[in-house]
Symmetry: none
Subunit: 312 residues, 5 copies
C-alpha cells in the first residue's frame, strides 16, 4: 500500500470523510484490484480519474456530433491511455473489440448494465449487458452498475443488483454503483437532482454495499419544495450539499460525474469543490471526449494537476 | 487469412471504414467460422451475400404468394446452393428438416429468435426459437439475433441477448444482430427507419458486441422533425446516411437488408451504394426468392458481379 | 422401414405432398418411435388415427354430459384399444392412473401442456403439465404441445416450446404440435379458423421444427375481409384450403382434428378430403367418445376403412 | 453433397468397401463437419490427406532432429496450408498458439489425448489433453482420440472414451479414433502390428462408434504364430491384409498412417495399395515434415496426384 | 502494449527466439494479466524476475535453516516488495495470510499444486492445493502448476492439468508450468536434468498450452549415454543446451530457475546466459531468500541491472 502522505495544505477538515483503502475491511481480491485502480495507474495517489464511454447506449450517437472523431471508440481508449486516466468505464462490446492494445495499461471498469433513452424514464430499469464473470475474464478491475433509486421498478433492480453484488464478493471484484434517482415518483418529490434524491441514492447504494458510488452533484430547483421534510426546508450551498452526500456515502468512496459539457472553469471548480468535500475522484466523460484530442488532453492535465493535491 | 487484395478502382475513400477479418481481435472459433463465411464459400472475397428465409415466421406465408414454389423451404436452400450464396439464414426447423443435402456446402446462420406479426409491435420482443448450443450441434457458422432497439421491452431483450452473447463467446460462434428500431417510443421519435433510429440501433448493437450488424438503410420521412436533436436538423442523403450508420457500427461488420421487393435496378443501386459506403455485404431475401428460380439466379449473378468489385 | 407400397387408386396428385417417414432426416430415436406409431400399431400403413382425451382440462367435464360413461378415462383407453387406434393422446394423470393394462398395446402421445377455458383466450398461454422426461419415463412414443400462434403471449409460449423441442431432440421423442391461432390480435384479423390464421400456424409450427402438426380445417366466415392481404381476397374452397395448409406444413406431417361433434357423414367427408389433400391422419375425440361404445367402435371402423386407402 | 463421380479406372472391386458420406446415417453437425473435411478443403474429392503433429508429445523432440525447422510448430501449419492438406491434427497448445493465421483455412482435427513414451507401454493409457468442448470452441472439424486396444487399462480407456463419444454426439463433432493395439498382453499375442491386433482394433473402434479409424498397416513378423487361431494360420499379403482390416471397420472410414520415415517410393506404394483396398485417406506425419519444406511439398503433391484418382 | 524497444547491444541473434507479448494470440484476460506481470511491475521491461516461496511444501522447513528469518513468510513478501520483483509465487495459505499489505503492489502467481518430498519421487504426482478460481478471487495475475513429465502417473497429472488449463482459458488467467521431468522411468533414461528430459518437458508443456514454462538448465552427467538416441550422442554446451530448450518451448515464454544456492557470480552467469539464449526471465528463490535481507536486496539489484539489458 502506498504510504499515506502528509495531508496537503489544501485539505480541509472535511476531507477526513474520505475513505482510505488501507483502512477499509476488504477481501484480498477487492483490495488488490482497488489498489491497482488507486495507486498503480493514472494519478497513482489514491485519487481516481475515470473516463466513461457508455453514452452511446444511454443517449445514442447524438453525443458524438460535438466532436465527430469521438464516435470511434478508439478515441476514448486513446484519450484514457494518453491522458493517463486511472481507468476507462465501458460496456462489453467496446472492451472486447478495442481493448487489445491497452490491455493491462488502462484499467477497465466494465459497465454491466444499461438502457437506451428511447422509451420514457418513468419506470426506469437498466438491464444487464454483461456479468461479473465477464469482467473477470476480461481482466477488469471493477464493474459498474446503474441503480435507479426510487424507480417503480426498484424491486427488479435490487434483485438484479443482488446477484451482481454477490458475484463481486465471490470473485473479489470491486463494485462501482452509478446511484441515479429516477422515475415518476422521484420527479414528484423534487426531481432526480434534488438533494433529497441524491442523498437517498447515496444511502441506498451504501447500504447495499457499493465499494464506490458515482453521484451527481445535487442541484437546487424550483421543485425543491416538493421534497419530503425536512429536505424541503434544508439550507445548503454547493459545498455543504456535496459534503452531505459524501458523508451519507460513509465508507463507500464517492466519484462525482461531470454531466453534460460545461466550461473549463466550471469543470475545474466542480473538481476542486468535490475533492475538498471528500470525494475520492471524478468521472468525466462528455466534458472530456466532446473536445478535440489536444484540448481534451490539455484539460485532463489541468484536472490532474488539481487532483495531485488530494492524495489519500 | 486471404491476402488483402488491391483496392478495386471503385472503392471510395469511405470504404476504409470496413472492418477486415484479419485486423480484428477475435477468438479462434469466431475467426475460423467467420473465415468460412467470408472466404471459403460464396464470393470468397471477404464480402457476404446472405439469403434469409425467416419471413414465414415474421410475416406469415403471405410472403410466398408472389412466387408459390418459394413456400417449400427447399426452394431457398436450392437457391442458396445454386446461386453460390455465402450463407443461408433460417430458423431451426428449416435447418433441421431441409439441410441434409446442403450440410457443409451452404453455411448456416441459425436465426435463433423470432415472433409473428399478429400482435402489435408497440412493445416488440422476439423470443428465442433456438440456442447457441443448437447452432453448434447443427454445425452452423453463426447465429442471428433480432434486437428491438428502443422497445419498451428492451430490458427483457437485453437480458435474453446477454445469454446469447456469452454463449457465443463460450463456443466461438459469430453473432449477427438484426438491429431493428421498434416500438411505440421509436414511432414517436421519427419512426423505425429514421436516421436517428437506425444510427442508435447500430451503436447499441456495437456496444453490445455484435460481430456483424444487419441494418436497414435509413429513410427520410415526414416524421423527421420528431427526431431528437440534432438528427431533426441533420442534412444527409442516401450515401451519407449509409456512411453514417456504417461508421457508427465501428468494428462490427454491417450487412444491409433488401426489405420488400423492388425493381432490379433499385436493388443493384442499393447494393452498389451500401458497398461503396463500407458495408461488408448484403442480406437479400424477398427480393430474391419472390422471383422464379431462373430470374432469381440471374439477379443473384448480377449482384455477385457487383460484389466481386468489393473484396476485403 | 415398411416398404413404400404402390400408390393406391384414390391417391390424387396432391397426395405427393405427404411426407413419408423413410424419406425424412430424423434421429434414430424419433425414427423408431414414429415407426411404432405409423407402422406397428393401429392402421399399420403409415397413416395415423389418434384418440385425444384432453378436453376435460381444456373445456371441463361438460364435454362428458353427452355420453356419461366417457367421463371415466378408462372409456377412452378402452375405445383406443378396442378400436385399434394408432395412439391415444392425454395428460399425465390419465396416463399414470389408467395406462397399466394398455401399456405397450396402445401407444401414448403424452400431452404436456394445457389450460382451462375459464379465463378469456385474449392472451392465451398453455402451461406445461408434464415434461418430455415424463414421456420418456412412461414409455410414450410422442409428446403433444399446444402452441397459441399469434397470442400476445407468444414470447412465453415460444420460450417454453424451445425447452420442449430441445428435450425432444435430446431424447429422440417425436413432437406433435397443436398449432392453434388464438388471442385478441388474431380475432381482429379474421379469427382463429380463418385461412390466414391456420396457414400462419402451420408455417410457424413447421419453422419451429414440429414433427407432426395438428391443424383445424380452415373455415370461411364473415370476418374474412379483415384478414391481411392477400388472404382477404383469396379464392378457395374446402379442398384447396386444406391443401394449402398441408403444403405450408412442408415436411411436417399433418393431422386434422374433428372439432365438436358432427354427423357421421360430415366426419367421413372431412376424413376423406383431408386425406386426399395430403394429411397424414386424423385426431378425432369428441366425435368418437361422445357416442356409446358400440357406435363409437362402428364409426371408428368406417373411418379406418377409409384410411386404409391412404397408405404411405 | 458432392455428386459421386464415375469410378476411376484404377478403382478395384474392393473399393466398394469404402463408405461414402452421402450414404451414412449421421447427425447434421457431423455431416456438416465431415463434408468440410472431405469436400471443401484439400483434395475436395471425398479423400482425406491429414498432417499430424502430435509426435512432440508421443515421442519427444527427438523426432525433430532429422529436420530442425520442423521443431517450430509453424512449420507443420505452413506445410498443411501450402500443401493443401485436408486437415492438420494436433494438441490444444499447438492449435491455440499457432492457428490464428490459418483459422478456417486449414481444418483442425483436435487431438484430445496423449502420453509421453517415457514410461513403458505395458499398461498404456492415453489421458485427455483437451475436451470435445475445446474442439467446438476452437472451431475444429473433428477430434482425434487414441484408443489402446488390448491394454490392461482398457477399462479406464473405454470409460474415458465413452464421455468423448457422447460429447461428440451432443455437439455433432466427428470422432477419429487412433486405434492402436498396445500393452503387455498384445505383445504376447503377436504384437501391436500383427493382423490379429490391427483387425481387433478396427472392430473395437467400429463397435464403439468411431466415424473414422486410423490404423497402421498390419505387418508380418516372426511372432505371428503367437496370434490366436485362426490368425496364426491366416494366409494374407499386403493387399489382402489391408482389405481385411478395412472390411472390419465397416461403415467407419479408415485412414492409414505412414509411421516412421520411409523412401518416397515405399510411401507412394503404401498410399496406392491402401486406397485401392478401400481406405478413405492417409495421415502421414514424419514422412512429410521430416523433409525440408520444398521436398515435403513436392512429395505431398505426388501423393495428392495419386489420391485424386480415388474420389468418393 | 509497451513499444518494442531497440535491441540492446548484448542481444545475440538467438534472442530472436523470445516471444513478445504483443505478438502472441491471447485472450484479453491473459493479455491484461501478463501485461501487468511484464510491464507494470518490477522491471517493467517485458522481462520477469519472480520470487518463489513454495519450498516449505516441496522440501520442508529445512530450507530455512540457512537464514532463519526466511521461515517467516513475511520475509519473502517483504523481499519481493522491497526488491521490486515482478511477482511472488506461493501457495494459498501464504497468500491468504500475508498478502494484505502487498495486495496490488506485488503481483501474485498462485502456485496451485504441490507435494512433500517425504515419499519417493518414483511415481511423482503433485496434487492441487488451490484452484484457478481461488486465484481469481485473490486477484492473482497467474497460476503455477507443476507437471511431472514422464512420471508413471502422467495420466493423473495430465487430467488434473486439463481442468486447470480449461479454467485458465475460462477466466483469462495465465498459466505458468513448472515442467519437471520426474519418476523412475526418467531416471533410467539419463535423469531429470538431462537434456533429453528437459527438452521433452519443454515440448510437453508447450503442446499442452503453457503460457510460461519454468525449466531447469539442462546438466551433463555420467548417465548421458542412457538417454534415447540422438540425445545420447548430442554435442552441446551450456549455451546451446539452454538455447535448445528455449527453442523447443516455442511461443511459450521460458523462466529458468536458480535451484539450490550457488555463488553470486555463478548465479549472475546463469542469469546472463539464459537471457542471452532467449529466456523471458528468472525465478530465483533459495538463492535469494537464503541470504540476509541486505545481501538479498543487493544481489537482487545486481540481477535486475543485468535484466534491464534484456527488454522485450
Amino acid at each position: 500500500m502506498a504510504p499515506k502522505t502528509a495531508v496537503p495544505p489544501q485539505a480541509s477538515a472535511t476531507q477526513a470523510l474520505r475513505p482510505v483503502l488501507a483502512d477499509l475491511d476488504l477481501s484480498l481480491g477487492k483490495r488488490t484490484r482497488l489498489h491497482r485502480l488507486l495507486y498503480e495507474h493514472g494519478l497513482r495517489n489514491g485519487t481516481l480519474m475515470v473516463l466513461p464511454i457508455d453514452q452511446g447506449i444511454e443517449h445514442g450517437p447524438l453525443n458524438f456530433f460535438a466532436n465527430p472523431p469521438s464516435k470511434d471508440p478508439k478515441y476514448q481508449w486513446e484519450l484514457a491511455a494518453e491522458g493517463g486516466y486511472n481507468a476507462i468505464a465501458c460496456h462489453w462490446g467496446l472492451a472486447r473489440m478495442y481493448m487489445k492494445e491497452y490491455a493491462g495499461r488502462v484499467p477497465l471498469i466494465l459497465k454491466i448494465n444499461g438502457k437506451t433513452n428511447v422509451p420514457s424514464d418513468e419506470s426506469a430499469f437498466s438491464a444487464l449487458t454483461a456479468t461479473v464473470e465477464d469482467a473477470v475474464t476480461l481482466g477488469a478491475d471493477a464493474v459498474g452498475y446503474t441503480l435507479y433509486v426510487g424507480s417503480p421498478r426498484q424491486d427488479d433492480d435490487m434483485l438484479q443488483y443482488l446477484e451482481v453484488r454477490e458475484a463481486c464478493e465471490r470473485w473479489g471484484m470491486p463494485l462501482v454503483v452509478w446511484a441515479y434517482p429516477r422515475g415518476s415518483a422521484i420527479e414528484k418529490k423534487g426531481g432526480r437532482d434534488s438533494i433529497y434524491a441524491v442523498d437517498y441514492a447515496a444511502r441506498l447504494a451504501h447500504e447495499l454495499g457499493a465499494d464506490i458510488i458515482k453521484l451527481n452533484v445535487p442541484v437546487k430547483s424550483d421543485k425543491d419544495a416538493q421534497q419530503p421534510k425536512p429536505y424541503n426546508e434544508l439550507e445548503w450551498d454547493y459545498e455543504s450539499g456535496v459534503r452531505r452526500v459524501v458523508e451519507t456515502a460513509g465508507r463507500s468512496m464517492v466519484l462525482f460525474s461531470g454531466g453534460s459539457k460545461v466550461s473549463d472553469e466550471d469543470l475545474l471548480d466542480k473538481a476542486r469543490v468535490t475533492m475538498e468535500q471528500g470525494s475520492t475522484g471524478l468521472i468525466f466523460g462528455r466534458n472530456m471526449w466532446q473536445r478535440p484530442m489536444d484540448e481534451a488532453l490539455a484539460l485532463t492535465e489541468r484536472i490532474k494537476d488539481l487532483l495531485r493535491r488530494f492524495p489519500a
